[in-house]
Symmetry: C2
Subunit: 592 residues, 2 copies
């Protein structure tokens, strides 16, 4: 069974050495000193490593079962969920008046990385509840908040999001689920929803489904969509649970991965629901949660690859196979460990240079969400809106690729389920699909975010890169190893933006045919910037004195690897973009 | 359930329009005219589409079971195997005196693509038998050939290869299975082998295991290894089956994919075996089959992605979701088909431009094996030895990536096992691992093949590219769309070779740290060359007149896409290679 070591030191490094959160001008960040964050991260790490991680393989092997209409989660999940509940982890960043601890979202995100790494399928029950709470917080009436939120914050109840239907995924304008208004102000919800993660289970007393449906009078397409609260058990006026609502599980999907999470077909047969937010404004209500939900999936993308990397590295250090080309490294043994082989190093360096960069980018993104929510910083809001599809699409593509790389280090043993390396790759695969498939992220990025506010957020990003380079240009090692490659990569990004500006208006396909490569080009520049910042922090630590020079030297070496071996991908993506839409669209549809 | 359409037209195109096999100066190729190959490909296509493909999902869902020491294959496999046997497909390229049809290997390969695409796990039972036959043909005594080969050619008996042990995969020098010589000339084989594909099953009367083991007196490491024939049932002098041999199945592995093939732990408890080939020369006996076996896995790499692509394309044409940015393409319907979206096109074009290029490369490779075996062409032998790790490593990496791309087109439905798209990705994943993990292919390429014969095969490859460019330079469309990008990519490959020559001798890590990228760089140049040849053939068809201009136009458009959007990856791989080993090897082993 794979092991998992919470990367507490690395999380601290990003929070305190790189982002320097306690110095950021965001309300609540002043308290985020190492003395406050250390015990929280350590406690979360313990829960992740000791309780959640040992259940990861169990969840994969046992899966969820539908018994008499109720989903039975894998053995041990219920107890672990109680530990998650008792630790108050779901409320870490939620309002105190609802039972939360009102800490910044960036800390919730750092904690979340460990929960996802330990057991991604399990953590989704909590993560989806957190998302549903955000929706009710943003759009619910005071009565709704009072009724639903305290038990949801406590994880006595959980939540789900119901968007997809058999014939409609991305294109929600096609949805058919109907909401008929009733005399008492409620609605009768009828229709079928599919791919509902955590749609049912046996770990909480109630489940609050948030359901997109069409109420009369809203017009065609997405305009007519509203969002409804549909509890599994109706809630009495005093907060106790009443009758079972007319919502049921049609089946559990058999999936490539995340077997521990019940992906349900949900049937609404005239179920009682209540409008959440404004009538016919359901899409807007959904979109307010989008940045956070998509950042969360971007986090899953790299977080699931963290234990994959850890176990690949451990195997490479232990497995004896072959001899180093430079002479035996383990002359007393029958062979050298795999890690002497340069190609194994290449693979491990590809993995860790991505993972550590993605961690920094994700936590920076979470801090931008805090800045937007806590200080109403419009610049931060614009920037995170721009970066969200990049974080989601780039990090999940790379995360899957890196999980597969980690599996490869194990050779044939990586293909056998018993060793657990396959599960990381299979679990990672979903992150590229849900919460908006990555092609849709690329479309959102190029079709909407790039031109938003007249391009202001994109210009702001270039400004950040430029300023970082200008500020640190005097540091020779930083300049040659980091700033120069970052400058070149940023120039490629700029060239892609220019190409879109010059061609995208008159030929939309010119932009859309390059959208996926743009998302990756942008992702690389983001990670290049993050590595620049980390290198700066580590050079500073080494220059001013640190009790852990090996740690900082490893960061610089890993960063140099990224800049030399990953960042040059920007030129390839630019070449693909500027080759234009002609070759992409050349064939008639029937030729496929 | 996914569908599968045998690409007969495309196979014919490569054989006759591109390679022009019947004009190649290889014995037996003169008969390979379209009139001969057409009925064979069509008959094989029927078996693939009608019998094997419908069992692909069954094999995945049901898997193999171990019952009272015998492996039970999935329902339907036994009947399909009988059809494979009755069709004589295993003997297509085997000697007539053994019951085969003595056709060229290139035709066996073309047929094999369809069997693999239809049901990769199933086809391995035949494919491994074919490999074992090759070994006995090359190294067996006349008596051994007479005893074992006719029933194996007929598929009355099947074969396996037993190399791996729990503690040794690539590094066979570590193996512990022992062979003790007996007075009657036989050996007693004792040890445990793992990951034995088709190790046991219920579809044939006997199984001939070829087993690597150490006999006394051979010295340490790989030098002491010999190859043995160990039948499941001992064979009497008259060819009838005798006693059960002391070989048994320890367990069946639970794997990520290819569930229909029984991957067994095989226990040899003093089993009776006979030496195959020379004592202590077992490694050499293994290596003579390597090119063919690895080409076969390279074929699997792209062949499994063929039905994945077909089903992605079909879904993209049918699934209505969203509207084209350029205006509704299906105004009467509720939405446009996915295929109107440029990013879906990008994905499908990435897939098909790889698949069609890989098909041409694989069949060209098979023709080189024929040239080497049938005419003793040393140049062909050198070239295919060089190209084999490229075909295996590059095509399986890309095949997996493309199967995952095809899965992505299906969105959430691609993650659900019911639709079958996940299986293609899970099955494809093994091809990167077995028959020498891709990192080992890269090592073989850079560490052995590149410098073989003083670099003659590598120079021969550059000569082929150069000559092709020079010969066709007068064709303007070919020049700008194909020859110019091929020239640039070939220059990158040349620069990588030069880098290795200048640095690899004094710093082996300089070559080894770039080996994986070199394998991919080389793979892209190979596919660039293949697309150049295909474009030439299709331009010629269009210029001289063809009854299917749409087919040839699609080929040219697909090729142009590859040259514009895939081939530029050579520059990235070169940049990674020339960044040197420093960043790859910078960290101490304990930092991982």
């Amino acid at each position: 069974m794979p092991s998992y070591t919470p990367p507490i030191r690395d999380l601290h490094y990003v929070l305190h050495d790189v982002l320097k959160v306690s110095q950021m001008p965001v309300p609540g960040y002043g308290d985020l000193d190492p003395a406050t964050t250390a015990p929280i991260l350590e406690e979360a790490g313990r829960l992740a490593a000791e309780v959640l991680a040992p259940l990861n393989a169990v969840g994969d092997a046992e899966g969820c079962r539908l018994e008499n209409g109720t989903v039975r989660t894998p053995p041990g999940f219920s107890g672990a969920f109680a530990a998650m509940r008792d630790g108050g982890w779901n409320g870490l960043d939620l309002p105190e008046e609802l039972g939360g601890q009102a800490m910044p979202y960036v800390l919730y995100t750092a904690v979340g990385e460990m929960f996802v790494s330990a057991n991604m399928a399990f953590n989704m029950y909590q993560g989806l509840t957190h998302g549903a709470i955000s929706a009710i917080l943003a759009h619910g009436t005071d009565a709704q908040k009072e009724t639903y939120l305290p038990p949801m914050v406590r994880l006595d109840w959980t939540g789900t999001m119901n968007l997809t239907e058999p014939h409609c995924g991305t294109d929600l304008g096609l949805l058919r689920t109907r909401a008929e208004p009733q005399a008492d102000g409620s609605y009768r919800i009828t229709g079928q929803k599919i791919f509902i993660s955590a749609g049912d289970h046996d770990m909480a007393r109630n489940i609050i489904h948030l359901v997109l449906a069409k109420a009369p009078g809203g017009g065609e397409g997405t305009k007519g969509i509203s969002l409804f609260i549909v509890p599994k058990f109706l809630v009495n006026a005093d907060g106790t649970l009443g009758e079972r609502n007319a919502v049921s599980v049609g089946k559990i999907e058999r999936k490539m991965g995340i077997h521990g999470n019940a992906t349900c077909v949900m049937n609404y047969d005239g179920a009682t629901g209540w409008l959440l937010g404004d009538l016919h404004k359901g899409m807007r209500a959904m979109f307010t949660m989008m940045n956070e939900a998509r950042l969360g999936v971007g986090l899953q993308g790299y977080a699931v690859a963290v234990p994959a990397y850890q176990n690949a590295a451990a195997y490479a250090r232990e497995r004896l196979q072959g001899r180093a080309a430079t002479g035996p490294a383990n002359p007393a043994g029958p062979a050298d460990p795999l890690i002497v082989h340069p190609d194994i190093r290449r693979s491990l360096m590809d993995q860790r240079s991505f993972l550590e960069g993605a961690r920094a980018l994700t936590l920076w993104g979470a801090s931008l969400i805090d800045a937007s929510h806590r200080s109403g910083d419009a610049g931060a809001e614009g920037l995170i809106s721009l970066l969200t599809p990049v974080i989601k699409g780039f990090q999940t593509d790379k995360g899957f690729q890196m999980a597969a790389e980690a599996q490869q280090v194990w050779g044939g043993h990586g293909y056998v389920e018993e060793q657990g390396m396959s599960q990381f790759a299979r679990d990672a695969r979903i992150t590229m699909i849900y919460e908006g498939a990555n092609g849709v992220q690329a479309l959102d990025l190029v079709g909407r975010k790039l031109a938003a506010e007249g391009g202001k957020p994109m210009m702001a990003f270039f400004g950040i890169v430029k300023e970082f380079i200008a500020e640190n240009d005097g540091h020779e090692a930083l300049k040659t190893g980091f700033l120069d490659p970052l400058k070149a990569a940023s120039k490629d990004l700029q060239a892609a933006v220019t190409y879109f500006m010059q061609n995208g208006m008159k030929t939309p396909d010119a932009a859309l045919a390059g959208s996926y490569d743009f998302m990756h080009l942008f992702g690389h520049v983001c990670l290049g910037l993050m590595w620049g910042r980390m290198a700066k922090a580590s050079y500073a630590a080494l220059e001013t004195g640190t009790d852990d020079p090996a740690f900082h030297k490893a960061k610089i070496a890993t960063g140099r690897y990224y800049m030399a071996r990953q960042l040059p991908a920007t030129a390839l993506h630019l070449a693909r973009i500027t080759s234009g839409p002609g070759d992409v669209m050349a064939l008639p549809a029937e030729a496929f």
